[in-house]
């Protein structure tokens, strides 16, 4: 590869072409920050500060406490991007996380993406049941109260719809925000009961190999889960970011399958049927399968591929003149931890290693950051993730060469952003 990270002689901190600087500039801890001063991200220092006065909020009594806090009224623009599936059917379709408007790695529950197939059911937890049956010694029914007494685990992990970024398959680069393009992606701390505990209690019989999971919504959405995954890190999730799962995320419980495509993480979970084979439901055959150029479709492509994208700057941003900027983005892999993220400012000719923000967790979002001195000229920014298995995020060309342009799901190609001399940031295939 000609595109391995390049050390450049001048300026001394450069790590790759067109202004990428060493990641130590953005380390969060230690002495590296001291004395750099250049971390001020404004391109040009304003001419002079205004004279300060004491504002009214400092001279009057503030608002009282509240039972459940909400974001500042000044942040009302931070909303999910709602896209109904069809006219007259508001319960179908989805909403996307505005990735360009949030930071860190945890998605606020109210901004977690949604994908519903017939709306959000209004489930009374006192009446809800989780049933395990099929090839088990003891078919069992669990109440909510009983499940709340079970041992729990907590994990910070991403959830991504396999249809996320699907416009990447299109020949022309869509001119949309990063949330519109890639916002079927969120990350939460999920807390729940390991599914293996419940399956062990029911007693899985010899010959069992799959578990059908079904929701209590009016699509009664169902997907087959391989038994090894169900017995590994699968969870019946009851809590999200410390609170009970929101209705649109499956209240009172959802299946959570770390690293697997979103659709399999069945919301409003009510039934688990242990089977000898996959049930071949509509959503696992006619919908979430990947059509190849030869007319054959890949079935059971579960694991979300290694992926990254730069969220700042990204489409719709306007650069504020030459100077030092923080490039910031997200990286993740359904196969495990992110090992490394590389960033290019010259369209992929040279790459520099980005700083990964701790904690770097398995099957989770990892925030990466890179210092960049923009010279005011045209640039193409890219990020490329490598996970702990050694898998490297492919380019769009590599994906299309393998899968054509009609497979719809599992797009995880490198996302380039074009920076014009005017400061406009647009989406490009490059």
């Amino acid at each position: 590869m000609s595109d391995k990270p390049v050390e450049t002689a001048t300026p001394p901190e450069a790590v790759a072409g067109n202004g990428l600087l060493h990641r130590r500039l953005f380390l969060t801890q230690g002495a590296a920050l001291v004395g750099t001063g250049g971390l001020a991200l404004l391109a040009a220092r304003p001419a002079g500060a205004e004279t300060l006065t004491v504002p009214t909020w400092t001279k009057s009594i503030g608002a009282p406490m509240s039972g459940y806090g909400v974001p500042s009224k000044y942040e009302e623009k931070v909303q999910r991007i709602v896209r109904p599936g069809a006219p007259g059917a508001p319960g179908t379709g989805g909403s996307r996380t505005p990735l360009e408007l949030i930071n860190g790695t945890i998605t606020p529950a109210g901004l977690h993406f949604e994908r519903h197939h017939n709306g959000i059911p209004d489930i009374d937890p006192a009446q809800h049941r989780l049933v395990i049956h099929g090839k088990v010694k003891r078919p069992l029914s669990f109440t909510m109260d009983s499940l709340l007494r079970y041992p729990t685990v907590s994990r910070i992990q991403f959830l991504e719809c396999s249809g996320n970024s699907a416009v990447g398959w299109a020949k022309d680069a869509a001119q949309q925000s990063v949330g519109n393009l890639h916002g079927l992606l969120s990350c939460s701390e999920w807390t729940g009961v390991p599914l293996s505990i419940l399956l062990d209690e029911a007693g899985v019989e010899p010959g069992a190999a799959w578990v059908l999971a079904e929701g209590a919504d009016s699509a009664a959405l169902s997907r087959s889960v391989p038994l090894p995954k169900a017995m590994d890190d699968a969870m019946v999730a009851l809590w999200q970011n410390g609170e009970r799962i929101r209705p649109e995320q499956g209240y009172p419980m959802r299946l959570f399958l770390p690293g697997f495509e979103g659709n399999m993480n069945v919301k409003w979970l009510r039934r688990l049927q242990v089977n000898d084979g996959p049930t071949m439901t509509r959503d696992e055959t006619s919908k979430y399968s990947d059509l190849m150029p030869d007319g054959k479709a890949w079935l059971f492509t579960y694991t979300m591929g290694v992926k990254s994208l730069i969220t700042s700057p990204s489409h719709g941003f306007k650069m504020q003149g030459p100077g030092l900027y923080e490039i910031s983005g997200l990286a993740w892999s359904g196969a495990g931890k992110i090992r490394r993220v590389e960033v290019s400012a010259d369209g992929g000719k040279t790459w520099g290693e980005a700083a990964l923000t701790d904690p770097v967790l398995s099957k989770s979002l990892t925030r990466f950051r890179m210092a960049w001195r923009w010279n005011g000229g045209p640039a193409i920014l890219k990020s490329r993730a490598i996970d702990e298995t050694g898998a490297v995020q492919p380019t769009r060309d590599e994906l299309v060469a393998q899968r054509g342009e009609r497979s719809n799901y599992h797009y995880h190609g490198i996302q380039p952003w074009s920076i014009a001399a005017t400061g406009e940031v647009t989406n490009v295939h490059a």
Partner: protein, 175 residues
């Protein structure tokens, strides 16, 4: 990066912890009988296991479709505003593949399973099993998979082979 020693240690801890975990389950599940959960036991396996009693053919299915389905799926299932259900054979290698029951779905059991659990959109799980068999027969007949007078029931539907059954490559477990 885990050292090999650390990996071994973690592995040993996991092995040690798992049986203990299972044993410490509070065992609060209540036994449930097939009769008690019959209303939820909707899944049909691709070999037809799970298909209920009842029957129907495309002639009766056409009448039900006109009443309950055409508003979303259009005349003869040609689609708009929702999914196209008929035709598309021979398009899967084209630039604009049309994925329908006839051109794409690998198992007839799925048609019954899906209609019964989720259709019609505004009144799911409102159809009788005879109605579901009839609609399944109508859609299979429109796609040329069965004849208009063929009766679909638990035995006959299980034997229907879909045109695209061989059109899938199983990718799990990953190699």
């Amino acid at each position: 990066m885990s050292t090999p020693d650390r990996a071994l240690l973690v592995g040993a801890l996991l092995l040690a912890a798992l049986p203990v975990f299972a044993a410490e389950s509070p065992q609060l599940g209540t036994p449930i009988t097939p009769a008690e959960m019959a209303a939820w036991d909707l899944s049909i396996q691709p070999d037809g296991r799970g298909l209920p009693a009842g029957s129907g053919n495309a002639v009766t299915g056409k009448v039900i479709f006109a009443e309950k389905c055409v508003v979303c799926h259009n005349e003869e299932g040609k689609g708009q505003p929702f999914d196209r259900l008929v035709g598309g054979q021979g398009t899967l290698t084209s630039a604009a593949p049309i994925k329908t029951i006839g051109s794409f779905w690998p198992y007839a059991s799925t048609v019954f399973d899906y209609i019964r659990r989720a259709m019609p959109l505004v009144a799911p799980q409102s159809l009788t099993n005879d109605e579901v068999y009839s609609l399944t027969a109508y859609l299979l007949s429109l796609n040329g998979v069965i004849k208009e007078r063929d009766v679909m029931n638990a035995k006959t539907l299980a034997k229907v082979k879909m045109p695209n059954q061989g059109g899938f490559i199983v990718k799990y477990p990953e190699k």
